[in-house]
Symmetry: D2
Subunit: 335 residues, 4 copies
């Protein structure tokens, strides 16, 4: 059985997803593509033997679309996810679920009302070999229980102009989610500690940001988020456990010595680090759609919690105070 | 279009191939499985929704087998490859093409007589991200042209009892092939330098082996082959180029500090290092079968050259002398 | 000219200093040794061709003592430093200057009253090749100005029973000092963030501790202090600057692969990491005593500031609140 | 007791030795300096509070010279060493003992005739923390007995024009010596394998060189010597033992990420790698002169063997054939 996927959004990440589904994932094909830029949709559709749709509604309704990938701009995620729920189609939705918490809540409520889980959130780091290897070090044969988690997330330049709030809701949200997944615990509070900014940070913005969080069981988490680091793309995660510690860096095979330097390149963009995570996420999703079993990735609940925590962090950024995280009860659907 | 693959051999590597084709490769399905052990074939067939065959001939002839993977014991590769050629079916044949040079030659001659290339050799390291990254460092923007290549290949224990000749024809043949591919050059001579053996090397055997080779353009190549190293599985490759040098090691993401040790595990077996290379090889092969274009992996010619060089190395091991490598002219089919 | 040094304290660190002065430092000799345990002093004195003293006062007063090293238990540092000031003898005083802030203040006041700097504080990390290399990366040709500094400091076991306050005043004080030296700035506040403890942390104690500090110019500093980490001794420091980032780890030359592990040992104790820093500190001090010039190490002011910050951190540990750091004006003597 | 040292040669390495003896070595002082360039000798003497001599003979004969360091150009080492022997003065002689084997033999014979060991050869790598750490991994608790040793030695540019023979006798002689020391065994044969040269190798020269050697007990040793590598200065050594393997690289503390590169600098020159080895060698020598005990460094015998092996390698370079190493019986003086 082949899962016929409709892809909403033919930008960088939508194109990456579509090509993976067509060429690198077992059991899937791309049938329909929609993009606000119809020429772009048509071009990608032709490349992959799919057809373009003139609206996302048409795509979702199409009989040859078994499942949907949402890779549109952040502000459209929620409404398109609601449409997928209404159509009863399994969906892989790029993060964030919504920049605004109430929009995220609406999707959660709709799925809970539906009574079955159709949406998987595209927190692809949960499929990354590096983070998986890191999580595998936890436990009595490894580093023990996690006590402290320290993250770094650096971009070379801010893609669309720097906005400190956006660097939390769009970028640091990856660390917010992956650390929840690593330690399997909810956050209790978050605090954005004001510091010095880098040399090209625009007036009125803060970059890097330093986020401090604590989970309910007392795990201390920090996140250095630096979107204009100028160094390329770099993500690290260090976990101190009760019996040892583990550090995740790039998984590079080759070291070069040349011109009085020894080391390796950093990628320019996040795809240079997480391409395999995206493929593995899609493969996990497609296999789950075909074979059933527990959903292998993040849920709508995870997406909603991410929105709450990110918004609390944005509040802390504004108020320079610690902000408690209050979650509603987790619906039984996500037990 | 889905390529329906028949898999000959349901041992470790055949099972790995079959599962990849079924679950992790776009565009393929496993239709038929044969193994000398019929129960094993039946079990794997059931797992993957395929059916077992009672002979490899039946498998090759089956109408629902578009292409064949040969993953049987080394000594059967040549005769099965010949049968695939006779049936006109595309084949991915595990290395070596044959332990005996004349058998390898017979397959080469048959393919040349057929006039089209049906066989791709399973030298999967050509698809390994590590070796690809290494090769990408060559050239004027990187380390320049390769001048010296130094390889290490270590197994924890010899799988079926140690036989020094076998550790060349079955194991070091990987380095013989991958270095040819890296430097794109043919060998001129090979010399196995006798040395000291390790503490558990049986009487009458030599392990580690140290192979020294030179290519026609003067690239110096060495291979340390240590099949009873006791350390786990480890493969390294270092290339000195005219402008710099590059070292390939394991591509690990995570470093652990625990119990006064800092570092990471070594895998027990080669699959722990090359699982992704196997998947990428199968994906490359299936995509090539569907979409055409140049064959992405090693050819029958490469398999034949590997057999010649490995046999010359075995001669050198016996005679303790340098052995020249004489190749027939490369058939136009492999230009 | 040879500087004849009297060493107070013949424990681990006093013995290390005395042997360095006798055997590995140019321009010095050990003339007199005092220890509360007279037999121990006599034994070390004999080994090094020195003589034992029956009191530290005798040692300080001796005509063949040109300079003094204080390596006694922490609580005696201040009174012995005062005695050295009274005698007008140059002194290298082990950290901390005093566990109690008022004692540290008394030494500072006495030195200011004297009007010349006689005391160098034994913050030996300022001489460590690793931290020096790290500091050398700062600036426009390197990583730019430091914005965030993240430290880890791990012991295998707490030497004398775990006391969370002591793990700040005796251990984390190293990070408090070295980060001040790295970023050349004073702290504005400190906060000890309560978290989970490790599996062998005694009831009523906290370990690891997570300290967060900010400097006056907004550099964010954190310190993970884990005195019962069980892993051996490990110190790391990571600095994010405006143009890049730099990570300091152990400076090991050799990587071992054995028994399915690849990496290197961690030392059991701090001397395994900082032996060279101690020697370089003593050499720097002796050279300064002979040749003059600016004092190459930490001053009494640095020792006093360390005591203030450490005590503020202990307050924060007790109160679970952020504690501002208020410093008196820096005396002109330390400009 | 202070050892008053006369230093012959005030070039790079002589100046480094003199400054170490004056400022970084316990128990020594520099009393007299000679250099062919008298102004240079006078300048360094003034810097260090020593006096210049007008000839090396004057220096050796001086009553305030207890011991001599020979750091003159290679071709003068033998005659100056003979003069030191004649004067009965302990000597640290830079490598090589002599470029010409018969000159080296003359010094050996003279020392044997004298009946006591006065000369220590400046093979400083024996004191390098990296090589010491590497050797410490040998044995049953570590990597077992060494079976294969693979060395790389790369300079950025050839200091005085490239001469392939000189790159053996002056540069690769370091690997020839240090590997003998590591494995504690004599070489049986040497073979220089001709290969491709780098892009800036002058016509008629070969660079890199690939040397292959085997010891009497069968340890296989290779040396990549690349004097015009253009990459900076880099030395590596990898040892495969019967139970594991160990790799020695630079002992760097700090990794930098900047401008899409992660790694560290390579030094321009060998002093950037071996400065500490030089200091430790001088300290070991001075301590030995004061306190007695076994000579801690390489002997005249080691220097002589180095000359024999290097000359055999030069022969092999010319003849392109394997050259056996024949040593005279080791004199009892060096047992």
């Amino acid at each position: 059985m082949t899962v016929r996927v409709g892809v909403i959004g033919a930008g960088n990440i939508g194109t990456s997803h579509a090509r993976d589904l067509a060429h690198r994932v077992a059991g899937s094909a791309v049938s329909v593509i929609y993009d606000f830029d119809q020429a772009r949709a048509a071009e990608l559709a032709e490349e992959l033997g799919a057809r373009p749709a003139v609206s996302y509604e048409e795509l979702i309704a199409a009989v040859d679309v078994d499942a949907v990938v949402i890779a549109s701009p952040d502000q459209f995620h929620a409404e398109q996810a609601l449409a997928c729920l209404a159509a009863g189609k399994p969906t892989l939705c790029e993060k964030p679920l919504a920049p605004v918490e109430s929009d995220a809540r609406a999707v959660l409520d709709a799925e809970v009302a539906l009574g079955r889980r159709l949406i998987m959130m595209g927190f692809m780091r949960r499929f990354d070999p590096g983070y998986r290897e890191l999580k595998d070090t936890f436990g009595p044969d490894g580093i023990g229980d996690p006590l402290i988690v320290r993250n770094s997330h650096r971009n070379e330049v801010a893609p669309y102009g720097l906005d400190s709030a956006l660097s939390i809701t769009n970028a640091a949200i990856h660390e917010i989610d992956i650390t929840r997944w690593l330690v399997d615990d909810e956050y209790e509070w978050v605090e954005v500690v004001p510091g010095r900014s880098g040399p090209i940070t625009p007036e009125g913005q803060r970059d890097p940001l330093f986020l401090l969080l604590r989970t309910r069981t007392g795990v201390i988490v920090d996140i250095e988020m630096f979107v204009q680091s100028q160094i390329g793309y770099e993500v690290t995660c260090h976990v101190t456990g009760g019996l040892g510690n583990a550090s995740m860096a790039d998984g590079r095979y080759v070291t070069i010595a040349k011109a009085r330097q020894q080391g390796h390149d950093l990628p320019e963009l996040w795809l240079g680090r997480f391409q395999d995570a995206y493929r593995l996420q899609l493969q996990g999703w497609v296999t789950y759609l075909v074979a059933g079993g527990p959903m292998p990735g993040a849920s709508t609940w995870d997406g909603y919690v991410g929105a709450i925590v990110a918004n609390a962090a944005v509040d802390s950024l504004r108020t320079e105070a610690r902000v408690p995280i209050t979650l509603p009860e987790r619906p039984a659907l996500y037990a």
